[in-house]
Amino acid sequence: MRYDVAIIGAGAVGCAIARELSFFKLKVAVLEKSCDVAFGTSGRNSAVCHAGFNNKTTSLMARFCVEGNRLMEGLCQDLGVEYRKTGKFLIGFDEADMRTLEALVEKGKANGCTGLQIVGMDAVHAKVPGVGGIGAMSSPNTAIFDTFGYTVALAENAKANGCDFYFSHAVKSVSEGPDPYRFIIDGAIEAKVLINSAGLFADKVSSLCGVDGYRIYPCKGQYYVYDKIADSTLQVPVYPAPRPGIGGLGIHLTPTIHGNVIAGPSADYQDDPEDYCTTKPVLDQLLSESSLLLGSLRPGQIIASYAGIRPKQAPPSQGGFMDFTIKAEQGRKGLVNLIGIESPGLTASVPIAMHVRDILIDHQRDFGLDMQARENPIRTRKAPVRFASLDREEQARLIKENPDYGTVVCRCQTVTLAEIKKAIDNVLGCRSIASVKYRAWPTTGRCQGGYCMTRIVAELMKSGLKAEEINLRDEGSNLFWGQAR
C-alpha cells in the first residue's frame, strides 16, 4: 500500500495529526502496535487540560499548552467528548510555597494564561472543603476531560475523512525506497513522509529511520483510583505547589470526568518503557501524600490503581522538563520526529498537530506532497449516548426507541446494552474488553467488572468472536482458553 503520510503511533498526538492531515487531500495511514488507540501514555495520565503556567516561557510546551487549553472546549464540543472546566487550585503549605505560587502567577501571565490569582483558603474551601494548606493559586481555565473518548474521537474523525488505521502493527523495520516513496515500512507500506509519534518508543523508531542520537528516559507515575466520590468530596483538581524535583507536578488529586477521584502520579525513572507495574512503597506514599491534601479520603474508597510512563528527554541526573522536540530531520528526508511529548502533551495535542501540518506545508515541495485542502472535510463527530447522564424523560424516550437502552449492563456506571453494542460496533473495529471500556465506560466502577464482564463477553461473542479471541487488551491477554462446545 502507498501513502503520502504514515504516522507511527495512535496516541492522542498521532491521532490529532491524522485528523489534521485528513483535512487535506492526502492518503494517510496510522500504524499502531496496540489493538486500539490510547493504549500508551494517552490512556494513562491525569486527563487534565492544563492552563500552561507551569512551562518555561517561550518553550513549545508553554505555547502549545496555552493554545490547546484555549481550543479544547470547542474541540470537545465538535468531537462529542465530555469536558468540564473545573478550574484548579495549587496549594501552598508554607511561605516558600507561597512565593513559588506568586512566581507561577507571573510566569503564567508571561505565557499568556488568564485569570490566575493567589487566593486564601476560604476560596478553596468554598469549593473543596477539607483541603489542607495556607493559601493557594487559582487557575480558572484548567479543565478535566475524557482522554480516551478524546483520542477515539480524533481517530474516528480522521477515519471519516479516509485515513487508514493499522492496529496490532508494530513497526519493526523502515527501509529506504526510491523517491518519492522514501519509506518502506516492514516491507509492505510505502510512504513519502513518516511521522514518528511513537511516544515512549520515539527514540527507537527514529533509529529505525536512520536518525540516532535521541534517548527517551521512561519515568513512571502511579495512581490510585477512588470510588465515585468526586461530587461529594472533590469537584476541582488540587495540586501541591510545585517543588524542585525530577519533573512531575507533584502528587495531586483530580476528579475524573466520570466522577471518580484519582490520586497521583509519583515520578520514578526506570529502564523499561513498558513496565506498568504498581509497587507497594509508592502506593503507600500516594496514600499518605494524598491524605495531606485531603484528610477525608479513606483507603476503603480505593477501587483500582494504574501507572503511566512519561517519555522524558531529561535524564535522571538532570530531571525537570525538556522542551518537546518536533522537527523535520535533516538527516532523513521526509522524517518528522516528535520526541519527548510528555505532559502537557494531551492538552497540546491539537496545536502540536497543527505545527506538524505547518512543517509539512513548508516542506511539501521537498517531500513531494501536494497539500491541497479537502473540500468540506468532516470536522465533527457525534457524541456517543451516555444514558446515565440523561434526564428521565430523555431516558424513557430512548428506551421507547430502542429497548436495548432498557437493559443495564454495567450496574456501577449504569451503562446500557445499547451503549455496549454501539461501543463494540465501533468505527475503528477495535474489539478488546478495554476498547469497549474506553468507549462506553463499563467495568470502571466499584465492582470493577464483577457484574458486567459476563455480559460484555456475551456481546463480544455475539459480534462474532470466539471465547479464546476475547482479549482484555492486546493479543495475548486472552480471558479464556476456550469454551465447552
Binding site: 506498568y276 507495574c277 459476563t454
Partner: protein, 450 residues
C-alpha cells in the same frame, strides 16, 4: 402490574423470594423487582450441593434451592418483574417511589414498604491493593464461577487462589474437576475462613495445599498472568521481605471478601455500617428509614442461604405489617447456627449430612461424637472409601450449560474421570429433578432452576 404496592422487594435471591412469600401471606400486595432474567440471585451460579440442609432437610444445589424458593410462591398473588433494574429510590414520606429501568420503559412504582434484598458484591483486586501489573487471568471467585458454571468457559489451567473463604474453596474444586491444576490456596489470616467440610471436600480430596499467613504480594505478567509472588505476612498483614516465592500460573482467583450491595439504600439515606457497608437494622429488621427493611446479604453477609431465607421471612412480614398498619412486629431470630469453620482436626470426620455438623472420631475402633446413626454410617464410609455427590454442568442441544448432579454419591476417586466423561454428553430433553444422562451406570439428574 399496578402502580402501587404495599410491599416492593428489590432483588429475587433467596432473601427477596422468602420476604415476598411472608409479606403476601399477611395479605399485602407484593412486587418483586429483579435485574436478572430469572429469579434465584447468586444461587443460580452455585451449582455445587450443600444448600437447604436446614430449610428443606436435604442437600440441594444452588439452582435447586432457588427453584424451591420460587415454587413456594406458586399460587400467591405476587407480581414478579425480571429484567428490571432498580436505578433509584425516592422517599416521599409515607410513600416511596422506585424508578425501574426495563426494556419496556422507565417505570415508577409506588409503595408503602420496601424490602432491600440486593445481595452483595465481591471485593476486587483494587480494593485489596495488590501491587504489580494488570494482565488478564485475574478473576474474582464469583465472576470465575459464573463464567465456568453458566457459560462453560475455560478460564485457566494453572491456578492460584487467594483467600480461603468458601467461594474460593468451592472454585478450587470446580476448576480441578474442569481439568485445571490448582496449585494452592493462600490465606492472609492465621487460620482458614471457610467451612471445615469445604476444606476437606474441596481441597484435601484433591491434594490441594492451603497455606495460611500468606498473601499474593505481586502480580506478574504483561498480557496474560504469568506468575504471582506469594509472601508470608506479619501481624499487621504486611508482606515480610525475604519470604517471597514466585509461583508460575496463568490464573489468579480472588476470594477476598463480600461487600453488601447498598447503593440504592444510600439514595434513601439508610444508615450503613461503616465497616461492612451492610444496612443497619433494628430488631425487626427495619433500617434507619421507616418503612424500609433489609435482609440477606445486603444487610450482613451470611454463610448459608438457609439462614438468609429465614431472616427474610421476618423482614417481609414486618414490611407487610408496616404497610397494612398491623401491629405485632416480629423480632428477627438470632442466627447463630453455623457449620464449623477452620482447619479440620486431624483424625476427625466432620459429618455433612445435617446442619449439626458433628465431629466424629474413632478411638480404639469405637466411634465418638456422632449425633445419629446416619452420621455414624457416613463416618465409617468416609474412613474406608469416601463418597461424594458429583455436580457439574453439561451442554444441551442449544449449547447451554445445564447443571446436573449424581443421583447418589459416587466414590471420591472417580470424580475427576466422571467429570471428564460428562464433557462429551449432549443433553436432548431434560427436566429438573429427572434423569438427564447416565455414565458408567451412574445416573445424573438435571438440577436446573426452572
Amino acid at each position: 402490574m399496578k402502580d402501587f404496592y404495599d410491599v416492593a422487594i428489590i432483588g429475587a435471591g433467596p432473601a427477596g423470594l422468602a420476604a415476598a412469600k411472608a409479606a403476601s401471606a399477611l395479605g399485602a400486595s407484593v412486587i418483586i423487582l429483579e435485574r436478572e432474567a430469572r429469579c434465584g440471585g447468586i444461587l443460580n451460579q452455585c451449582i455445587h450441593d450443600g444448600f437447604g440442609l436446614m430449610r428443606y432437610h436435604r442437600a440441594l444445589t444452588g439452582p435447586e434451592y432457588a427453584a424451591r424458593a420460587i415454587d413456594e410462591l406458586e399460587g400467591m398473588r405476587i407480581d414478579i418483574l425480571t429484567d428490571a433494574f432498580v436505578s433509584q429510590l425516592v422517599d416521599n414520606g409515607d410513600k416511596k417511589a422506585i424508578i425501574v429501568i426495563t426494556r419496556s420503559g422507565l417505570l415508577t412504582i409506588n409503595t408503602a414498604s420496601i424490602v432491600l434484598a440486593t445481595g452483595c458484591r465481591e471485593r476486587t483486586r483494587g480494593q485489596i491493593r495488590t501491587p504489580g501489573s494488570r494482565p488478564s487471568g485475574v478473576f474474582t471467585a464469583g465472576l470465575a464461577q459464573s463464567f465456568v458454571n453458566l457459560k462453560g468457559m475455560d478460564i485457566g489451567h494453572r491456578v492460584v487462589i487467594l483467600g480461603s473463604g468458601d467461594i474460593g474453596l468451592i472454585m478450587a474444586r470446580r476448576l480441578t474437576l474442569e481439568g485445571a491444576k490448582v496449585l494452592g490456596v493462600y490465606e492472609i489470616l492465621s487460620k482458614p475462613c471457610g467451612l471445615k467440610r469445604n476444606i476437606t471436600q474441596c481441597l484435601y480430596d484433591f491434594g490441594i495445599p492451603l497455606e495460611t499467613g500468606m498473601t499474593v504480594s505481586r502480580i506478574i505478567g504483561s498480557k496474560r498472568l504469568e506468575a504471582v509472588e506469594v509472601s508470608q505476612v506479619d501481624s499487621d498483614m504486611k508482606a515480610i521481605d525475604g519470604t517471597a516465592r514466585i509461583i508460575e500460573c496463568d490464573t489468579l482467583i480472588l476470594s477476598v471478601g463480600l461487600i453488601p450491595e447498598n447503593e440504592l439504600a444510600s439514595d434513601l439515606g439508610v444508615k450503613l455500617d461503616p465497616k461492612t457497608n451492610g444496612a443497619l437494622t433494628d430488631a425487626i429488621l427495619q433500617t434507619s428509614v421507616p418503612g424500609v427493611f433489609a435482609c440477606g446479604n445486603c444487610r450482613k453477609v451470611l454463610d448459608l442461604a438457609d439462614l438468609v431465607s429465614r431472616q427474610a421471612e421476618t423482614a417481609g412480614a414486618n414490611a407487610a405489617r408496616h404497610a397494612l398498619g398491623l401491629g405485632g412486629y416480629e423480632e428477627a431470630a438470632e442466627l447463630d447456627v453455623s457449620l464449623p469453620k477452620g482447619w479440620p482436626e486431624k483424625d476427625v470426620i466432620n459429618c455433612t449430612l445435617c446442619p449439626r455438623g458433628c465431629s466424629i472420631a474413632f478411638k480404639d475402633g469405637k466411634a465418638l461424637g456422632y449425633g445419629c446413626k446416619r452420621g455414624l454410617e457416613y463416618a465409617k464410609t468416609e474412613l474406608v472409601s469416601p463418597m461424594r455427590t458429583l455436580t457439574a454442568t453439561v451442554l444441551d442441544s442449544k449449547g447451554h450449560c445445564v447443571p446436573i448432579k449424581s443421583s447418589v454419591p459416587v466414590p471420591r476417586s472417580s470424580l475427576v474421570l466422571l467429570r471428564q466423561a460428562l464433557k462429551s454428553v449432549r443433553l436432548a430433553d431434560h427436566h429438573s429433578g429427572q434423569v438427564a444422562c447416565t455414565i458408567d451406570g451412574i445416573e445424573f439428574l438435571s438440577a436446573e432452576n426452572g
